[in-house]
């Protein structure tokens, strides 16, 4: 990793509009390859605007191509998503603890993604596919608000067509043109026919959704330490110094963003989410 305090300038190589408010950028990292683990994030900085934490959504085997999927929600992300190929962003990182893909070897692995949660889980999924022989069943369960809000729809289709993976998508609402499942993503988990003794769950999405996913996994008998969630908190330093991202006894940037449910489940109960 480069100096964690100093942003490395990288040029936007390509920009893809994913949904009405979300874009995927590929940055040229060939001069300073970003070797990251699935689930890690970087701090993206734009002169005059500020800095935001964004998960890497690309392929961990391609450190020269740094990929991020960003939703325009506020003062920094809105203008950043307007940038075009050739524009430059400053990059610090990667930071944070990854998804437990190594610990999951030999197990069945279920990724449960809600909305933008597909972005941080995508590198984990690509890792599972690239090392398919090291895992048992691999399942990707995706929930979105409507079919138009689905991230990476073409890739979902291609992954679904493989014979060695199980990919299911559900939406909260749809018009008559949609023939797939409708309902919350936890239903896909109910239907998955999992063997709790050999399953690991990794989930990312809105906190309420992750709470219901964890609850359903626990109900099926999957132990809390085999359920991982990824958290978001406001960040500044991203290296465990400033305390901005404090959450209970943890700093999300240093101790997370990926946490075991055994460590953080009780906090969800307190938060009332």
């Amino acid at each position: 990793m480069n100096d964690p305090w100093v942003p490395v300038p990288m040029t936007i190589r390509s920009r893809r509009q994913e949904t009405s408010d979300t874009v995927t950028f590929e940055l040229d990292a060939s001069a300073a390859p970003v070797r990251f683990r699935p689930g890690q994030f970087t701090m993206l900085w734009r002169y005059g605007l500020g800095e935001v934490a964004i998960s890497v959504s690309g392929d961990p085997r391609e450190p020269e191509r740094l990929v991020h999927t960003i939703r325009a929600v506020g003062a920094v992300t809105r203008p950043i998503t307007q940038l075009r190929p050739g524009d430059v962003l400053g990059v610090r990182g990667p930071f944070g603890r990854p998804w437990p893909v190594d610990e999951a070897e030999g197990s069945d692995v279920v990724l449960v993604a809600g909305g933008l949660g597909m972005a941080p889980l995508r590198p984990a999924w690509l890792h599972l596919l690239a090392n398919r022989e090291r895992y048992g069943r691999v399942l990707l369960l995706v929930g979105a608000r409507t079919p138009a809000d689905l991230l990476f729809p073409d890739q979902l289709g291609a992954w679904r067509a493989r014979f060695d993976t199980e990919v299911q998508v559900t939406v909260d609402r749809a018009d008559a043109g949609w023939r797939g499942p409708i309902g919350v993503v936890t239903r896909l988990l109910e239907r998955a026919g999992l063997d709790p003794a050999r399953t690991r769950v990794m989930t990312c999405g809105p906190e309420v959704m992750m709470k219901f996913v964890a609850r359903e996994a626990l109900r099926q008998g999957i132990p809390a330490d085999r359920i991982a969630v990824s958290m978001e908190r406001n960040m500044q330093c991203a290296i465990g110094v400033c305390g901005h991202c404090q959450w209970g006894a943890d700093f999300v940037c240093r101790d997370g963003p990926v946490f075991g449910w055994d460590r953080v489940g009780a906090r969800f109960a307190v938060a009332g989410v």
Partner: protein, 152 residues
Amino acid sequence: MSTEEVRAALAAHPFCQGLPEAALDTLAGHARLQVLAEGLTLFEAGERSHASWLIREGRVGIALHELEVVETVEAGELLGWSWLIGQWQWHADARALTEVHAIRLDGDALAERCRAEPSLGFELARRALRAATGRLERSRLQAHDVFRVRGA
């Protein structure tokens, strides 16, 4: 379609998991296998409810406000439990979104049998309650509209 076929289909359906043999026999006497064509309406809100379906294959959409489907019911799941809890009217619409293979339970006859055999009634009501509780929890989560972008 023989009663044995129906009984075997019932025994293989998750709804019937753990049911005593005698209860399966009773159910088989009041059930039949159906193939429902895509687009077929199974029931509409306001109609008299006197059946349940155990879905074996395919997908049924439940709609509350005319065309808006709020949830799909799929293989291994129970569709419709109103008659089991003494409500004889549907409160939603149900339409086959794909071709559907199902076991149709005759609610009129089974309600009679449940009154005569409370242990059977208890088993069926318990399973229906489990399905209804799941639906309630999912509706709560759906009501959060969790994927709405805050501040947007």
